[in-house]
Assembly symmetry: C2
Amino acid sequence: MTDRAQGARLAGLAALLADPTRATFCLLLLDGRAWTAGELARRAAVAPSTASGHLDRLVASGLCAQERQGRHRYVRLADRRAAALIEDLAGHLPPAPAATGLRAATASAALARGRTCYDHLAGRLGVAVTDAMLARGYIEGGFTLSTKGAEWMDTVLGAGPDSWPRSRRPAARACLDWTERRPHLAGRAGAEVCRAFLDLAWIRRVGTGRAVRLTADGVTALGAHLGIEDADALA
Amino acid sequence: MTDRAQGARLAGLAALLADPTRATFCLLLLDGRAWTAGELARRAAVAPSTASGHLDRLVASGLCAQERQGRHRYVRLADRRAAALIEDLAGHLPPAPAATGLRAATASAALARGRTCYDHLAGRLGVAVTDAMLARGYIEGGFTLSTKGAEWMDTVLGAGPDSWPRSRRPAARACLDWTERRPHLAGRAGAEVCRAFLDLAWIRRVGTGRAVRLTADGVTALGAHLGIEDADALA
DNA sequence: GCGACGCTTCGGCGGGTGCCGAACGGTTCG
DNA sequence: CGAACCGTTCGGCACCCGCCGAAGCGTCGC
């Protein structure tokens, strides 16, 4: 009885992502930015009318939020929790479909190197930064920010924990990337690192999507502050 | 192109849980034990033939595993990863449907008090134990097992980290219960605590399901070793 | 061996849902 | 004001999928 009711609720949530088109939308929105209905339709290869209906449903469910500007409809993930839901699920996907080995050679090479995942760094860059922070003891075992790490963020990035707004958001957590299949830093610290990197112009967004590119300053900085020697390979 | 392919893969995974009957099965299986096809059919209120098909699909997907014994078909979640997937998703359900307030008065009162969630303690008991371990500093902020906690597990439970098999399973992680809406201890430590509690006869399974009941010994032990004063309310 | 039992297969029904094209309304820009 | 553009609504199509009952198969128990 109530068993079945709980099942129905769970099924309802899963059903949101159980459609290829809606799932594609959600993955595209994982960069945390707002996309127009038309862009999403094109990327997902469906007619605008089809996209419109799906977006209605995503918004109605609370998973997405929208703002209308003129003749445009901008849609984004509603909040961090929504992003975490997508991430969680995507993290459980079987390893890889058929890694063609050419992945790095495609037009999205920049994306493979670095991108944002909702509000933190992902891709090879995100993994590299995370690995370096782990190696230097800034992050510890279960993805907690160490005292040393807090100090580093404060002095080098000007974004230490003391400057963060009070909230219950975890300071650090692991986000499993669905392409790199490696954990990388998410949570408040992840978001602040990403923001600081952008502020300091160590990285810059390219194109309209989630891709980011390491700048020349960034290459130097990553070497100096994180001991990443081969940072230019990420640029 | 590849955007859409990733979306399709994600949708396929979500579709497994997007059916009320399959979702109900998965929630029932969260206790980590094997149920027969008939039991699952009855609990989910569907015909045996319907259940059969769903179980085929769950097994084929790798989410569940089965063993046939005589005329019975025993089905269980395939592994910890499968359980984590269900937990993750269920943890994102909106707070509560319409908490009737009578929850504790139903026939499943024992279940409300304590149960196992795949391989660790959940329910009010699980939350209480977790809270006590947090209060005593056995678990720290981001759900990592402290040195003190490791010592405690070793001396009191006879199940310290040194005795664990080497694996990449996280020592401790939070599992968000879908009824209590409170995090409780999962991961290797959670599993060992549950096992030790059973071994020490502090808890005992009741019925065929996931419900566990605190024994008289357990009430005393929880008071002595975790400072849980009102443990009899959980018995 | 015969019935009871657990499960499965099959056929068929019904409902839900994703998809599109065409027509329409609103906004922007010339 | 008119054309281009973005998005939505609507109707209709097709398909998928969940569900059941009936029949069948293997196992268990008397």
